[in-house]
Structure formats: structure tokens, C-alpha cells
């Protein structure tokens, strides 16, 4: 059952159908910065009530982990005027299969700025860093131009809208490292160090960038904040799946007729997304598999998606995760072994090299999967891969090792016949061989 209600008549809110919404005057004409104005110029709001409203909305992070945003904000220690504190907006969108934040940054940049300012107000922050991956050079230029306009209008900077709230926004340009999407690694990158993840605890709220309290949220998460303040937490909580509410940007790619970024509520049936939203399978082929939320989330077989909806609970039950909701759809001709080979290559390339299980493990994953893909593998290599995954999961500073191991574990688990077919035949007769004989 779809949890998205009457999604065919859904009115978009993150990327509403407004021409030139990225321009400041158009954004203003469509209630832009009105949430911030209400917070700063009326007595209705104080920092606690803003955080409470976000808690009430049930907003969960859109960057992959799905942590409740309001709760994260409340982890910040009590304000001490002598201790600076920082906000980081994570726009290092590098998870393969994910391309939603780029569109949000391009088409609705001011909602991200407004969201950053609201979050900063709620947590008493005076500087927000917007970290955008270096590959998005054109979009960084675009964002910088729009930020300057917001500064000129007095929406960002000193004494915003005549209030005593001041907040600066700094756009930081990355330089191509998947690991920077991990929050502690992003902090090291901001500080001008090699982007090695840090051991947690201490968590960013206690000891973040430059050792000061820090909160890190995804671009799409922060863009939801103005909507929540404007329309109320209850309104937001009423959109889509109850346990994981809100509008979501679904990035659909792969073997479909109409790929792209679509805004719909959470809790959409996967089958609706493929066959109705994305126009069905390319060339009328049959669906074979799909990855629901970026390359780290476990792959689902076509027979596993009956009645599965795009929200954390339903996907967990089905054996996967929501991730970034960047969906890759694969048709019946897809070779799962070479598909996995390219994924393992990606993680090998992107491992930062800090922890041995990940640095060495990702390399061995790639080597062994490549061996199987080239037809040189043995059946026992599959068990070796599983063993290797167990040696990597949960044994490193950050979750990259887990993210590298899961696709291997679940792709082999769910498509074992294809892997076995590419391996060299076993010299020892299997049970099945004996029965058949």
C-alpha cells in the first residue's frame, strides 16, 4: 500500500513550479525568507520553539543516515557567548546514484540559505559553512552569486532584518573526495586538513570544526526548515509515510524511460515510482534489480519490491535502506558481477586510507570481484568475499568500510547464481550434482 496518499495530485514544495525561483526577488514573492522574518521579527518564536517545531515535524536527515533533525539540533550544548559554534551544510553529494542536491542548489538556492539561517538561529550559531563538492564548480559560482545578493539585501550577515541575530554563510569548495560526505571528514576538510574521518565520540555537537560545537545537516534537510516554520510541524508530519514524513527528491536513474529528479512525498510505492513516475522500463524490458538509495544501500531483487514503499521502515523490512533516495533501476540484461565490480572499484578509489581494514579490504574486494568477473574466480572466492566483508564491517573509524562491504555482501547474497556461473566449475561434485547423477 502506498503511504504517499494522493500523490498524483501532489503539489511540490521543495522545488515548486515557479519560473526563476532561484532569483532572490522571485523567491521573496513566493514567501521566501518569510519564515526567517517571522522568527526574527515576531515574539512567536525563540530558539527552543524552532527546534521543537522541527522535532514535531518528524523531519529525518536526507543525507543517507536518516537521523531525526530536531533531535540532532537539541544535542548542541547550552550557548556560551565565549565559545563559537558552527553549522555545516553538507553539499558534498558524491554517493553514486544521487543527484538531487545539485538540482536543489541550482533551482532553489535561497531555501538552502534560509534553512541554514533558521538552523543557526535555533542553535545560536554565527557562522554556517556550505560545503559543496568541487565537481559542482558551475553550481558553486551560481550559489556564490545568489549568496551575495542575499548579503546585499541584509538576509545574511550582521543584524539580519534589523534584529540582533547575525550569521555569516561561507561557501566552501571541495576538491573531489567521496569521504568528505562523512561528517567528521567534512570537518577536517573544512579545517584545511586531509579529510580523514575522526573517531566518535566526541560527537560534532561537543567537539566539531576547530574543536567547537558543530551541527551538520544535508542540503535537502535544511531546505525543509523554512517549509516547517512557514506551515507548521504538523503539516509536514502529515505528508507521506507517518514514520518518515515529508517531501523527498527522488533521483531515479538507470534503465527507465524517464529518469530524473522527482519531488514526491515519502512512502511512495517503488513500483509506482518505476512504472508511473519514471515512465516504465526502457525498451519494455523486465525489471531485474534496483538500488533504492545510493550505491551503499543493499540491492533489491525485482521479486522483493512487492508493496515496498520508499521510507525507512518499509525498506528495512524489505532488506535495504532509504539512503539518499537516489534510485538505480536495472533491467534483465544487467550483469550483476560487472555491476558489483565497478562499485568495488569506486570504494577502493575513495577509501581515504586511514584504517587498515578499509584501505586493504576495499582493494581486495575489487581484486577478487574482478577475478570472478574475468572468469578466473573459484567458488570459494565467494565465501572469501563474505569473510572479508565481516572483517571490514564495524571495524573502522567511519562507515565507508561498511558502505563498501554491504553491496558486496547483498549482491552476492541475492544474485549468487550469477556469481557462481562466472566462477570456474568446481572439481569437487556438489550435493546437487550428486543428486542429479
Amino acid at each position: 500500500m502506498s503511504k504517499a496518499g494522493d500523490w498524483r495530485n501532489y503539489k511540490r514544495v521543495l522545488l515548486p513550479p515557479v519560473k526563476d525561483l532561484h532569483k532572490l526577488d522571485v523567491y521573496e514573492a513566493h514567501e521566501g525568507y518569510s519564515a526567517l522574518r517571522e522568527i526574527l521579527t515576531t515574539d512567536k518564536w525563540d530558539p527552543t520553539s524552532v527546534t521543537d517545531e522541527v522535532k514535531k515535524s518528524g523531519l529525518k536527515g536526507r543525507g543517507g543516515a536518516g537521523f531525526p533533525t530536531g533531535l540532532k539540533w537539541s544535542f548542541m550544548p547550552p550557548i556560551d557567548p565565549d565559545v563559537p559554534r558552527f553549522l555545516c551544510c553538507n553539499g558534498d553529494e558524491s554517493e553514486p546514484g544521487t543527484f538531487k542536491d545539485r538540482q536543489l542548489l541550482e533551482y532553489n538556492p535561497h531555501s538552502v540559505f534560509e534553512g541554514m539561517l533558521i538552523a543557526s538561529y535555533a542553535m545560536g550559531i554565527k557562522t554556517g559553512f556550505l560545503y559543496i563538492r568541487g565537481e559542482f564548480a558551475d553550481w558553486i559560482t551560481h550559489m556564490e552569486a545568489e549568496l551575495e545578493k542575499a548579503y546585499d539585501k541584509g538576509y545574511v550577515g550582521k543584524n539580519i532584518m534589523g534584529s540582533d541575530f547575525s550569521c555569516d554563510i561561507v561557501i566552501h569548495k571541495g576538491a573531489g573526495a567521496y569521504i568528505c560526505g562523512e561528517e567528521s571528514s567534512l570537518m577536517n576538510s573544512l579545517e584545511g586538513k586531509r579529510a580523514y574521518p575522526r573517531i566518535k565520540p566526541p560527537f560534532p555537537a561537543q567537539k566539531g570544526v576547530w574543536g567547537y560545537p558543530t551541527t551538520i545537516n544535508n542540503v535537502e534537510t535544511l531546505a525543509c526548515a523554512p517549509l516547517i516554520i512557514r506551515n507548521g510541524g504538523e503539516w509536514y508530519a502529515g505528508i507521506g509515510a507517518q514514520s518518515h514524513p515529508g517531501p523527498v527528491l527522488y533521483g531515479i536513474s538507470g534503465h527507465v524511460n524517464r529518469p530524473g529528479v522527482y519531488e514526491y512525498p515519502t512512502g511512495m510505492l517503488i513500483s509506482d515510482l518505476i512504472y508511473e513516475v519514471a515512465g516504465g522500463m526502457r525498451g519494455g524490458k523486465k525489471l531485474k534489480a534496483l538500488v533504492p538509495g545510493g550505491s551503499s544501500t543493499p540491492v533489491l531483487r525485482a521479486d522483493m519490491i512487492d508493496g515496498v514503499t520508499m521510507d525507512a521502515d518499509s525498506l528495512r523490512e524489505a532488506g535495504s535502506m532509504m539512503g539518499t533516495s537516489g534510485m538505480l533501476i536495472m533491467d534483465e540484461d544487467t550483469d550483476m558481477v560487472s555491476f558489483l565490480r565497478r562499485i568495488t572499484h569506486f570504494y577502493h578509489h575513495e577509501s581515504c586510507g586511514q584504517c587498515t581494514p578499509c584501505r586493504e579490504g576495499t582493494g581486495w574486494l575489487e581484486n577478487i570481484v574482478t577475478r570472478i568477473d574475468e572468469g578466473e574466480g573459484n567458488l570459494r572466492d565467494l565465501d572469501l568475499l563474505m569473510d572479508l566483508c565481516s572483517q571490514m564491517e564495524g571495524r573502522t573509524v567511519c562507515a565507508l568500510a561498511d558502505a563498501a562491504a554491504w553491496p558486496v555482501r547483498y549482491t552476492i547474497d541475492r544474485f549468487r547464481d550469477e556469481f557462481e556461473a562466472k566462477c570456474k566449475p568446481s572439481l569437487v561434485p556438489s550435493g546437487a550434482d550428486l543428486v542429479m547423477a
Binding site: 513550479p17 558524491s94 538507470g254 522527482y262 538505480l328
Partner: protein, 224 residues
Amino acid sequence: MADFIKHPVVGLPDRKPDPVIPADQLHFSDEEKKQIQTWISRYPTADGAVMRALWLAQEKFGFLPPEVVQLVADELNIPYANAYGVATFYTQYFKEKKGKYVLDVCTCFSCQLCGGFDMLHYLEEKLNVHKGETTEDGIFTVQEAECLGACGSAPMLQITNGTYVHNLTEEKIDALIDALREDRMPAFTSVTLPQDEDELGGNRRSDVEHTEAYQAGPVSETTR
């Protein structure tokens, strides 16, 4: 002697290589110095500006040999080792000289399944290089890239850490190479949302001339 001693798996970098950039060119202009100071003022410590400063240096000198990294470190007044560590960590900082145009073809994930490798191989054959190599005339470097975040418009490529070219076809690559040989960079292309086509008639940005829609990718011939 064992083979691995004669040929170590990991070669150690030359600690004092001969400078590539002539000493008289190795400096920032006053304007660039001012720009770097602006960046420094935005962070609690000068270290924060190192990535921006390295970007600036790379745009100026083309790549980041040790002497350029040293220049950046001196400008920011940070240890050389820190700047060198950053310069060697990130993929987009070029450690060696590249062609005038670096073509990063994405072959990761969605692009793999929608013809990314076909495009890479076509480009390799057309320019007569392998991935990672530069053409003899020094104009093009072809590279295989990890996910560039444009999965819906696969296959795609990026030109020298800048412009994206979406929905690649062989014809599009031919036209692109011809244009780049004449130093005509393709304009920024905005990729429209499918829902906008229904509600806004496609392009939602009146300030962008070039738009493209997300398209179903071609059938992959090769996936490696």
C-alpha cells in the same frame, strides 16, 4: 635480490624534484594575494583557506608541482607538509601536468549501466590514448571519473573540473572535440526536471539558454 626490492610497489616521491615552473613566474599577483586574504578572513584559521588557495594556484599554473604547493603554503603561512597533504589527498588537484582540456568521463554506477564505458572507449579510440594519458599534442587528457552526481543524464563527462556535458552520444563527443580544438567551451547546460516539463513547459530558468532534459540512457555495449 628479490624483485620487490628492486621494484618497490609504492614508489617514493622525489623529495626535491627540479622545479617545473620558472622562478620568475612563481608568484601570486597582488590581486590574487588579496583574494586569498579574503578567503583567510572567512575562516577561524588560515588553514581553512588552503583548498581555495590551491584551486587558485591550479587555475593559474595548470597543476600543483611541489614548488607551487610551497608558494601556497608560504602565502597562507602554514607548514608545507599540511598544504602538500591536502594537495595530494583530493582527486581534483592535479599532481602532474595534464592536457589543456581534461575530459573526465564518468563510468560509475548509473553511467556504467547507461553506456559510460562505451563513451570512454570511443573517446580513447578517437584521441588514440588510454585513460589517464594525454594526447601527443598536449590538448586532451582522458580520465575515468568516479560518480560526478549527474546520474539521471548518464552517460556524461566533465571538462577540466568545470562544465558538465550531459546525455553523451558519439556525435556529441565528435562535436565537443571539434569545438574544444577551436577553444570553444560548451556553455553551462541546465538539466530540466521532468515534472517541470508537465507544469512549466520545461526550462524554469530564464537566465539560462542551454537546457537539456534527462534522457533514458543508451544500451551499454560494454560495462568494464
